[in-house]
């Protein structure tokens, strides 16, 4: 499978996750979101950027529980809960946000 952004083709796996995370660019996230019927706001980007930083440091996409706790610590308590994250990413904050961030499906995502 693949996704086309501005005439450039990006290879993805069968679930739509980017095959090569080094190829990621913000436009890929926007195109993926569009396919899901979502427009990315600053609130979405906060989470996406957080995930990219987390991956850069630990080489894994965090489990939802870990993500929620870490977001709360970094961005404030009102954002560190499943309700807030599920409103932004209704398909699941782990799966959907990681996909937009160009990361593999979270380790521990069952």
């Amino acid at each position: 499978m693949s996704i086309e952004v501005n005439g450039k083709v990006f290879e993805t796996d069968e679930e739509g996750y980017l095959a090569n995370l080094s190829e990621w660019e913000p436009e890929v996230a926007e195109a993926m979101a569009k396919e899901d019927g979502t427009d990315l706001t600053d609130a979405h980007w906060e989470v996406i950027n957080f995930l990219r930083e987390y991956y850069d440091e630990y080489q894994i996409a965090p489990a939802v529980r870990v993500l929620t706790k870490a977001i709360g610590k970094k961005l404030g308590k009102e954002k560190g809960n499943s309700k807030y994250l599920y409103e932004l990413f209704p398909y699941g904050p782990g799966k959907q946000a990681c996909k937009y961030a160009g990361l593999p499906k979270p380790t521990g995502c069952v």
Partner: protein, 135 residues
């Protein structure tokens, strides 16, 4: 809550030479989602998994040593390293990654996850476990 069991993952192999080290780490991270009481032990060549200064850029394989630092986030904060195994390899605690966790019951104070224990102490700890996986 009453279903919480003590899980222990014993790591015995060096990283990169075989897939065991990475497989174990993935199982630990996945298992952590089930909120059990998880601890890890590094014995034999397993101690090399958490050696600091790993850089696989010339090999073209993933360096997963930074991932051990995420274990604290997953509430895996009891990491036992067998003293005899370190000594046989000429290693000390200083040669290992500085793994930390934040203690929820102590105002999130940052604490060390690694405890160097003797074989006798480790045997005792293993005896207390309900589920043991060896990699």
């Amino acid at each position: 809550m009453s279903d919480i069991k003590k899980f222990m993952y014993i790591n015995t192999k060096a990283p990169y030479g075989t897939i065991y080290a990475w497989e174990s780490l993935e199982v630990v991270l996945i298992g952590a989602a089930f909120e059990q009481e998880v601890s890890m032990a590094f014995i034999g060549d397993g101690v090399y998994q958490i050696a600091k200064g790993q850089d696989t850029s010339d090999l073209g394989v993933k360096n997963f040593s930074p991932t051990y630092s995420a274990l604290g986030d997953y509430d895996v904060n009891k990491i036992y390293v067998e003293k005899e195994s370190l000594e046989a390899r000429g290693l000390t605690l200083d040669d290992l990654l500085g793994l930390k966790y934040e203690d929820e019951d102590d105002d999130w104070a940052e604490k060390d996850s690694i405890r160097v224990v003797s074989s006798t102490e480790l045997a005792e700890i293993l005896e207390q476990q309900e589920v043991v996986f060896s990699f």
